[in-house]
Each structure stands twice: as C-alpha cells, then as structure tokens.
C-alpha cells in the first residue's frame, strides 16, 4: 500500500516535472501554474476546515494578505521575491493566529461569519489604503523571481517548475503534519468532538491555534506565489468569490484529505479555464452547480471514489 502510494507520487512528480517540456505552450503553462497555486490554497483551507473542522469563510483574506505583503515588500522596499514569499506567509500566519483567539470561543456558523467579515475588512483596507495598496488598481510593476532564464518560453517553464515545487513541498509538509504527527490526530479529534478531545487531555486551544496559523500561513504563501506570478494584486483577490471558489474546490475534491482538495482545485480550475472557450459566464454557473451537487449527493468528493473502490 505504502509502496504503491510511493510509486504513484513519484510518477506524478516526474509527470509534473516533465510537463513544461511535453506541453511547451504558454497558455497550458499559465493554466497549470495557476492551478497549482489554487491547489495550495485549497489544501490550506482543508487543513483548517476539513481536518480541524474550523470553518473559514475568509481564506480569500489570508490569500490576499500574503499577496499584498509580498508585492508591497518587493515594490516599496525592494525585498527579494524569495524573501517576499516568506514575508507574505509570515504576515498571513500572524493574522491567522490572531483570528484563532476569538475563534476559540466560536463555533460553526459564527466562526464562518467572523472570518467572512475579516476577509471583507481586508478587502476594504486593500481598496482604500491607497499609499500602500494602490487602491482599486492594486499593486503592479514589481519584479518577479530573479535568476530565471530570460527567454519567454524558458522563463515560463522555469517559473512553472519553481511554483509547482514550492506547492508540492508545502502540501507534503501539511500532509505530514496531518497524517504523521500527534497534531494531525488532535486536529481530527477536535473536528469530531471537541469536548471529548478536551477530556482526553488534548490541549485543544494549542492545536486550534496551530491549525489557524499553519493554514493561514500556507494560504499567504499561495498569495505570494500568485502575486509574483500574475504580477498584479488587486482588491478583488480578497473577495468572497475567491473563498467560494476555494471551498467549491475542496468540496469537489473531498474534505479532510488534503490531496482531495488539491486535486479538486487542479480539475475545477481546469474546468473553469476550459469553459472559457464555451463562454466566460458559464464557468461560474458550473462551479455553483458542482458545489451544490457535491454537498448534497457526493459528500466525500472525488476522494470518496478512491476509498470506496
């Protein structure tokens, strides 16, 4: 079993590494690179909401924080993009940790609404703090990852590899945390029954805060990758539509598995972009339908098909 999973992940890794050579088309590379960024965001949401059961409706906010922090650091202070990624992730993790404290007292609906409100506050600040965020036009004209080849196609191929490697490593870290450590068991215990987890001697406060910090930190890292890749950060990244898309991806892939939401993100983003050829407006209609149908009829998402097979 473990060997089969090992072979499978090796095959995926080799396939992903060869993709820019096999499919050297700018459009394909753009879509796959962005899909990878979404996969990281969806997996980070799943760590907090799927594994630990703390529903965040504000992941667009953490994503935007990472994106804005990275872009602003590079634009205003000429911070190296490599360092900028860490800055974005650290700031998002810090805000996530701060959100975790009130979250200790809130459950279910209330937590979802507080995080939604937080994302909305971040969006409003992004839109109105002109000096730092550029207001409605956002931040643009900042440099991207240094040291990559200059030729257009080679640059895209190299950027793809860098981003996919960072995403894969991040998801692996989260997977290790959730599946191979005490923290992962504590996360699941909190999700299943928080009171019971407490009586079993699990320090639920500590693990909830940990889940908040790790999840929002990786969401911020995804935001930083997005900023350096797309080269434009505007307030709309913090909008509830972003969160909605991420939750749709996670539900599609299967909550509480990490790889499910990541896979769901890759496929749903592919569907979303693929439907552009049919008509730009139909892609979100499809996303809405996928969310509703999967929540009602396919509760374990794509991941459930593997388990039952």
């Amino acid at each position: 079993m473990i060997r089969r999973a090992g072979v499978l992940s090796l095959a995926i890794a080799v396939g992903a590494a060869l993709l820019p050579v096999l499919l050297p088309h700018p459009f394909a590379l753009t879509i796959t690179t962005q899909a990878a960024i979404w996969a990281l965001l969806a997996a980070s949401w799943d760590l907090l909401s799927g594994y630990t059961g703390q529903i965040s409706f504000g992941h667009a906010g953490f994503f935007a924080l990472g994106a804005y922090a990275a872009a602003a650091a590079t634009k205003h202070a000429d911070v190296s993009p490599w360092l900028g990624l860490l800055v974005g992730a650290a700031i998002a993790a810090a805000v996530g940790l701060l959100t975790g404290f009130p979250a200790l007292r809130l459950r279910g609906h209330y937590l979802a609404l507080v995080t939604l409100g937080l994302a909305e506050i971040i969006r409003l600040v992004a839109q109105n703090w002109l000096a730092l965020t550029g207001g409605p036009f956002g931040i643009h004209d900042f440099r991207s990852f240094p040291g990559l080849p200059a030729a257009a196609l080679a640059h895209r191929q190299a950027t793809y590899l860098v981003i996919v490697a960072i995403v894969a490593a991040s998801i692996a870290v989260m997977y290790f945390l959730c599946e191979r450590t005490d923290a992962g068991r504590a996360f699941r215990a909190i999700r299943e029954d928080e009171v019971l987890a407490q009586t079993l001697g699990i320090d639920t406060t500590r693990y909830k805060l940990l889940a908040f910090a790790v999840s929002s930190g990786f969401a911020g890292l995804a935001g930083g990758l997005y900023a350096y890749y797309v080269q434009l950060v505007s307030p709309s990244v913090a909008s509830a539509a972003t969160t909605s898309l991420v939750i749709g991806m996670a539900v599609f892939g299967g909550l509480g598995t990490l790889w499910g939401p990541a896979l769901g993100a890759l496929l749903l983003y592919g569907l979303y972009e693929g439907l552009r050829f049919v008509g730009v407006v139909y892609n979100l209609v499809a996303v809405g339908l996928v969310i509703m149908v999967f929540v009602i009829y396919v509760p374990r998402g794509l991941a459930g098909f593997r388990r039952s097979a």
């Binding site: 279910g108 109105n128 009602i296």
Partner: protein
C-alpha cells in the same frame, strides 16, 4: 453641525429600512431552518431584475415591478427547500450539519449570480423610479423613492410581525423556530413551514431589490455585499431573532451614516464588520438574543 447631524440621521433611517427588509428575512430563515442563507443577496438581485423586466421591457407600471418581484422571488424561494435543503437534510439524518448548509447556499449564491450574468449580462441596468419627486424636510431633502423604500419596508415588516403573532401559519412558523420536534408532534407540517419561511424571507429581499433598483442600478453581484453586511446585522440583533434584526438594522445604518461626520466615507462599510466582531466576542447572543447556545 446640528443640521448635518439631522441630515445624516434621516439618511440613516431610510437606509435602515432597506437593511431591515433584508436582515429580518435572513434572521427569520435562520431561526426556523437553522440555515444561514448565503444566497439571500441573489434574491435581492433577482427582485431588481424582475422589476427591470416588468417596467422597462414590458412597460408595466412601477407598482407591478414591485409586485412581480415579490411574487417571483416568493415562488423561486418555495423551490429552495424541497430541491436543496431537504435532500441534504435527508442525507445527514441526525448527524451534525457542520458547515454544510453554509457551503450549499454559497453554491446556490454562485449559481444564481453567474446565471444572472449569463442571462442578463454584466451591464448596469437602470430602472426608472416608482415614484418621482423630492420631499423637502427643511434641513435636508429626501427623494420620494427613498421614502417609498422606508414606507414599504415598514408596511411589510409590520405585516410580517402581525402574521407571526396572530395568523395560524405564522404561529406555526414561530412554534417550529422554538422547538421543531414539539411542533411536529403537535401536527405541524414541518416541510411546509420550512418552505414557506424560506419563500417569505427571500421575497422580502426580492421586494427590497425592486425598490432599490432605481437607486442602485441592477447587476448580478448587486446583492452580495448586502448579504455580508446583513450577517453582521443579524449577529448584532441575535441570530434567528427577527425583532433583534430590525433594531440592529437601524443601529448599523444610523452608525454608518453618522460616521461620515468623523471619518472618510469609503471606510463606512467597515463599521458593520467591526461591530460584528466586537459583538461576537463580547455578547455572542446579540442585542436582544436569548441566552441559549446552539
């Protein structure tokens, strides 16, 4: 100073009428179904589009736009419980719902909003006001359209509270909101009450959309920011407490319009969320909330 205070106060009260129409329905639905309707704002948008269809495309009088919006969103709302909520409820059985209804209505919101975009396009559509003219109050002038919003809101909400207090169906709604199991044991048809409550709640938003269409213009995403703000209002008023939502609507709207006197107006949308977060930390049950934990 005093004059501008009065002016902002009046504008706040008018805005409060809209918030109340929106938030009372949301709160009613939560109280009865235990479902937070993330798609509430889309029914507001649909109300606006129905008013546009009636008045601009079919050349009907403005009042027909309001009636059309009410009836249309009510009928659409009737479908939501049997088609979406009930199947999920059946699958869950007695297990905890977690965030699933939130995610479900989030999906509905995305679906409706993008369907509107597919059908009507993303343009800002103008709807002529149902009433024209301005009322001069001395310190400030208020357009008749805004007064109409306030008047209709007051009328509908009064009717709703009378319905809930005296009409047998309204009593059934309140009984279910207090104790669904006991209500069912007394012979109340739960699915019927759930479907009716949802339809009533979203129809209030639909009427709001028709009334605000001349002031806001109509576009697919017009309702979503209101949904988010209405969450803040319902939390302030106490979740599932329509009377609390009514009071909280005016508290927030007046605070927002008075805030313009002390800070730049683009920040006024922050107030509702700041109030929501402070309220959840200090008094999660809301202004008028009962001390129960769900």
């Amino acid at each position: 100073m005093l004059e501008s205070l009065l002016e902002f106060l009046i504008q706040g009260v008018v805005l409060g009428g809209l918030y109340a129409l929106f938030a009372v329905g949301l709160s009613l639905i939560f109280g009865v179904l235990d479902v937070i309707n993330v798609a509430h704002g889309e029914f507001f948008a649909i109300g606006g589009y129905l008013a546009f269809t009636a008045v601009v495309l079919l050349h009907l009088p403005g009042a027909m736009g309001i009636v059309g919006a009410a009836v249309g969103t009510f009928l659409l709302g009737l479908c939501v419980y049997p088609l979406l909520i009930a199947p999920l409820k059946r699958r869950l059985g007695g297990r905890p719902q977690g965030p699933l209804y939130l995610v479900l209505t989030l999906g509905l919101s995305t679906f409706l909003q993008s369907s509107l975009l597919a059908i009507a396009g993303g343009d800002y559509l103008r709807v002529p006001p149902q009433v024209s003219g301005v009322l001069d109050l001395g310190v400030t002038a208020v357009s008749s359209q805004r007064l109409l919003v306030l008047g209709v809101a007051a009328l509908l909400l009064a009717a709703l509270f009378v319905f809930l207090r005296f009409h047998p169906e309204g009593l059934a709604v309140r009984a279910v909101s207090q104790n669904p199991d006991a209500a069912q044991a007394m012979g109340i048809n739960l699915p019927r009450v759930f479907a009716l409550t949802l339809a009533l709640g979203v129809a209030l938003a639909g009427v709001g959309g028709a009334l605000m269409a001349p002031l806001f213009n109509v576009y697919p995403a017009v309702g979503f920011p209101l949904t988010i703000k209405a969450f803040a209002i319902t939390i302030l008023g106490g979740m599932g407490n329509p009377a609390g939502a009514l009071v909280a609507s005016f508290v927030i709207s007046i605070a927002e319009s008075l805030s313009v006197m002390v800070m730049p107006s683009q920040w006024q949308n922050l107030i509702a969320f700041a109030v929501m977060i402070v309220m959840l930390l200090l008094r999660p049950r809301g202004l008028l909330g009962r001390a129960v934990s769900r």
